[in-house]
Subunit: 350 residues, 2 copies
DNA sequence: CGGGTATAGGAAACCGGTGTCATTATCAAG
DNA sequence: CTTGATAATGACACCGGTTTCCTATACCCG
């Protein structure tokens, strides 16, 4: 059993030397063709390109990465319960990467673990990543960004946050969007509106809460502490949080849940209690995940342009590589919009 | 402006030469330490390891990949509407990859496009992937597997398929699981049971349909063509397909939908028609996605161990690398189970 | 027609590891 | 005390590209 190293597969691996030999030029010339060097004879270029096309030669990216000192891998770091969001984000990023030589390497992490930092550091340094996109809530971790800076790893953070650093941030205006949603409820006549907040420490949770409070304050509606329940962005937490709101007298006539999962929990809880939606209770969620259209009634919600934001994040990242001087002009702030479905109606008169 | 190559970032990149110099040994010896070569003096090893630990040296994977002729990237190829499934699969694979030097590169493709093959081929050859995991329905594409073979790219296909080739396949027994589900309906007294089938050409769709027919045949129940409606594995298709079933007289008292999305569509359609579930209509889905517990009533469904299957697939792939001689002993066949929730009840007597 | 200047292209070093083989040190056996 | 076997280590080529430096040729001008 002789080791057959060279002709392992039917697609014997071609090297730049083979191409050079076939074309009758030096490997340097082939390299110039590949990298589109402008100081090449037209004929020479055509000849080499023809051979490359015929043979189906593909430069070895490992060798390229080694020689160039950087590779073409973008990392996606996240720790997020929202599967739909993560997947949409992946899609957006991949759209931007399509046609480039970049690939996407994903890295879910466990925020709870106290090894997250080491884990991520090992990830970026070992793979010498070109850059990473960080999804919320990991993106709110400033220590992480410092570490990435130290490692010389580019990054873009996604989030519902202030634009302290537009170059490294793609954000949505959650606060204003939530305020809009709540204004909608108020316009329908609601005055006792409950909030199911997101987890403490999440910037998105704070932004959404502030938007909620802002709209109420504008309308001169006071917000007793009892109308605010804490949630964890999960269906179950929405379910249990809403029960404490239902126990209030008078009961709130509308509830804004800080994400769709919790909104679905509210709807489920209402069903268990025999509270009719939207007749006796209006509900608005946030994210516009598919679940909003699967339940009955379909949930009104706030949609943020996840795919577009993912695309923008990736373009920001690789833009710095492609056009050295070219300014990256991707927008950093995206607007969310209220999607009206069937879960909102005027309150019953009491 | 002198170029400062060496001390670019705070984490100046160490090379194997630096370690060798610091340890007073040759780079080859350092390499031996890294690769746990057994023919090393204990003292030498300890000394080098100490230095590696102190300095935080990490071998450059690009260089390793180049020298070794293969890199440590696993690709995930999919074209699937089921976000939850894809994400669970990612999770399973990553669990298996955790602690190894492998990373996961994802590649959603567009099955419709006639460039899929070129796209994937470019992906695996350019990146010289170690191997790929292919999700259904892409995994049913035999031409793709031939191409991967030609490219010398390892692969494992996931699916609900016959085990023609256990080494390259991780499968679930959809047929038997569906038969179980339908037997459950029959045991409850149902006789007119509708099927919403998956798209033509999907092996999973065929398997599930065969399971359905099998259970009916066992019970001696005939299946008129009108009780079978075609679906596309989407919510909307489930919605419209179920309407044709609802128009039948007599109406089916139970419906098996070939996945949860379509089952949710059936439930939604029933709500629109004022058909009470489960009193007037029983529903069973397939996949056990989160939506099944968000809707009311929660849907009975068939659960297949996605995460475990993803883990097994990844282990099969990298197992061949880690233990050369060691047989990979991951199971190739996984069992699905019926999850009973609230969408099934005995039929009303007519 | 000669000298200066682009410009194409080659030789060799390099990126940071790994493989092969030779060399040296150590030890048991004869 | 010599010899052969064995363990530990090092020298050097190599993986497949890129980059630097240099030379040879073509072209331009006075």
């Amino acid at each position: 059993m002789a080791k057959q190293k060279q002709d392992e597969g039917p697609a014997a691996k071609l090297t730049i030397n083979d191409i050079a030999r076939l074309a009758g030029v030096s490997k340097k010339t082939v390299s110039r063709v590949i990298n589109r060097s402008p100081l090449l004879n037209r004929e020479t270029r055509d000849k080499v390109e023809a051979i490359i096309r015929e043979t189906g030669y593909v430069p070895n990216p490992q060798a390229r990465a080694l020689a160039l000192g950087r590779n073409f891998l973008i990392g996606l770091i996240y720790d997020n319960p929202n599967a739909q969001m993560v997947l949409s984000m992946q899609r957006g990023i991949l759209e931007a990467l399509h046609g480039t030589e970049f690939e996407l390497v994903i890295r879910p992490v466990d925020r709870g673990s106290n090894q997250v930092m080491e884990d991520i550091q090992g990830f970026v340094t070992r793979q010498r990543l070109f850059g990473v996109v960080v999804l919320p809530p990991m993106s709110e971790n400033d220590a992480l960004m410092r570490m990435l800076d130290e490692q010389g790893c580019r990054y873009v953070r996604m989030g519902s946050a202030i634009l302290d650093d537009p170059e490294h941030m793609v954000a949505s205006n959650d606060r204003e969007a939530v305020a809009d949603a709540v204004r909608h409820l108020i316009a329908q006549g609601h005055r006792r509106i409950g909030l199911i907040a997101g987890p403490h420490g999440f910037r998105s949770a704070r932004e959404r809460r502030e938007g909620f409070e802002m709209a109420l304050a504008e309308a001169g509606i006071s917000l007793p502490r009892s109308l605010v329940a804490d949630g964890q962005y999960t269906f179950e937490s929405g379910l249990s949080a809403s029960e404490s709101l239902f126990d209030l007298t008078p009961r709130p006539t509308a509830i804004f849940a800080s994400n769709d999962e919790m909104a679905a929990g509210v709807l489920y809880a209402a069903r268990l209690r025999g509270i009719a939606v939207p007749e006796q209770l209006s509900i608005i969620g946030f994210d516009d995940t598919p679940v909003t259209t699967r339940v009955w009634p379909p949930l009104s919600t706030v949609r943020w342009p996840i795919v577009a934001m993912g695309r923008a994040a990736a373009l920001k990242l690789i833009g710095t590589a492609i056009g050295e001087g070219a300014e990256v002009n991707e927008p950093s702030m995206f607007s969310s919009t209220l999607i009206r479905r069937g879960s909102v109606a005027p309150p019953v008169q009491t």
